[in-house]
Symmetry: C2
Subunit: 452 residues, 2 copies
Amino acid sequence: MEKTNVLIIGGGASGLQAAITAKSNYPEKSVVVVRQEEKVLVPCGIPYIFGSLHSSDKNILPDKMLTDVGVEIKIAEVTDVDIENKTCNLSNGQKIYFEKLVFATGSIPTVPKWLKGGSLENVFIIPKNKIYLDEMQAKLKPLKKVVTIGAGFIGVEMSDEMNKAGWDVTLVEVEPSILNKAFDKEFGDKAEELLKSRGVKVITNNGVKEIVGKDGKVSKVVLSSGQELEADAVILSVGYVPNTKLAEKSGIELNKYGFIKTCEYMRVENCSKDIFAVGDCAEKRDFLTRKLNGTMLASTACAEARVAGMSLYELSPCKSFSGTIAIYDTAIGDTALGTAGVIESKATEESFSVVVGSFTGMDKHPGALEGMHPQTVKLIVAADCGMIIGGEVYGGSSVGELTNTIGFLIQSHTNIKTLLTAQIGTHPLLTGSPAAYPLIKAAEIVAKKLKR
Amino acid sequence: MEKTNVLIIGGGASGLQAAITAKSNYPEKSVVVVRQEEKVLVPCGIPYIFGSLHSSDKNILPDKMLTDVGVEIKIAEVTDVDIENKTCNLSNGQKIYFEKLVFATGSIPTVPKWLKGGSLENVFIIPKNKIYLDEMQAKLKPLKKVVTIGAGFIGVEMSDEMNKAGWDVTLVEVEPSILNKAFDKEFGDKAEELLKSRGVKVITNNGVKEIVGKDGKVSKVVLSSGQELEADAVILSVGYVPNTKLAEKSGIELNKYGFIKTCEYMRVENCSKDIFAVGDCAEKRDFLTRKLNGTMLASTACAEARVAGMSLYELSPCKSFSGTIAIYDTAIGDTALGTAGVIESKATEESFSVVVGSFTGMDKHPGALEGMHPQTVKLIVAADCGMIIGGEVYGGSSVGELTNTIGFLIQSHTNIKTLLTAQIGTHPLLTGSPAAYPLIKAAEIVAKKLKR
């Protein structure tokens, strides 16, 4: 029987990151990644396969990142895990003994059971599966009218990229605004405006009743309002569920949403101390509300995987994961939107008393510089103690890193007053002006409200 | 005699910011800014007047920022300050009584006294003065060969912009690498390579001996090595000195470099508690070495001005300025470089034991995406305690905000270990990949070295 010190099940972002971190922290240990896919896709790059990248071949996570540091890759399915005896059976007949095991089995797209017509030809989901997506891309090629259902990040980015590539796209969302889990309505409305200006038809406040077929193929989508949309294809982007069947079969405890229960060191709860879970399959808690949370992000997955990789043989109280902050961004044309921590509507709904401040400036200065984009920063701050608990950003291509700045401010429990005297760097071509830097100006607005 | 609660001398970035903050924090107080210039230039935008912006008219700090909040502007020179009686005399014959006074008199470019030929026609400096710069631009128009002396930020940006606009530019620097105060040599060398690839001739390790004239006009520049450069014009960008003659005349104490001595609340030392100084004219200390520091930045000036503006009538221990971190960036074409805190060579020179980590990744992911730029992050960390004390960044247009992230990490005394488990946000079009985000990877390299 083969033996390894560390066995990681799953080769997506979290599996890859767990393997690299394990090998980096424990170079003398052997690390094996078992995964089903020959080639692994960059998860967040998937929508871009359908537009900017043209092909999934340009969206591959390089195996070199693993093999260069001495991680072994096995292409197979893990069919059974024996937690007690620390062995796994693989689909290729192999059996592996492990010292430490990491579940990094990811997530799979949801197809709502109530949805009539969900199994018609040309109804697609977005799994992180190259073979499926390549076939889907080929099938979509001759088709014209596409209806995307669900305006989260995947739905929005798929719609925008497919519109850009020439498809006639309608995006349908049941909630009053798009991207509503990540952004307050004023930001969602801006994103909606942008999509529309680029040619995507957007319908909000309207659910899907039924997908209607003709000769077994999609022909139209009927909305709750009764409106009918002609369609050659439907893309379902209504969410993902954790892929935890193998874990469940192995006797591992799942939470009520189907995630593997884990502790702050990413060890599986009520289990041997040698079993870990990371990424989309692992339980998440909101850093603020402390409630279970279903937000799945490759970046969060990688943070969890780093914690697990460092904690395999040795725990440290300063290396733990204390709740998901959910930092993420999207881009529509030359505009980008970013979010970190809680949004205002969510905070209020959860009974936090918050004060917010929003400021719109420019992302270059003076404004006459070519390529200048307006930039808005909104900060969400706890009213009683001044702690920054969330931020939303609208602007140009620097939004990604600016959102990360806000993410770090949240993670270090920064008080809003700290920003009032903070030193920043500014440059005409790279940032807003020092006297009107939106992050600082938004902080000043919040501080003034708190003073009253 | 006219009276005002707050009088600010100088209308540049720091004067403007001090006035806005004062009015925002003490709306019932009257605030007057006295300045000499009809129109104030955006200081960091000055090099772009000669290229991208074409004209200084597109690089004006809008008075609206002041007048909108009720700040009064007076165009005049302050000729005398009577600290004891709290009055100022203006060049227009007016006398003003003030309760609080802020010096924001800025800085002026240096012309080295030893430089032979410094007063020839077509030898230019770069003052923050619209009238001078407009005349200079007109004079430069028919000329061809320009030699820039001094490769700090202004010298580099002037050279790049003038080269872009069609002048034949040679940049001369006496030190072995350009931008050497802000960047370690490996970053300076990259900047040099870039400038050269764009057509700027760069000569390092070579000082200027003499500027030679013909008929009173510049004709060539002679270097220490004996090399001679034909030149129609010379631009001196060898530094700035604080503009503190008025303060000195008023009996205010200057430090040995000519800056107004100030405390952490930006109050003038050994003086009435009602007198403040901010920006280029005010004393600066390095946040780490605690030594006097001469770095002049509009962004730092604005941070100081915010502290002063908040502290005019009321001090708070959490609103003070504890030393300049010097966060700044520059851009050369589609490449940008940023720096925050101390660089490695400076830390070593000052006897700090440091560990550094450097990682090069991409600023988009996958790398096949259009416009992807390699991104390098170098972190400088105190060896004994793990505190992040500096960072340097090379990359695309997101460098400005990424450098600010590092700036915040330094300001909040972040331990390098914090980054190992930090959550970040990533997006294909906006940032590096979650598994190879250069800031985190650089931190991992440092942490590994510290562990040994």
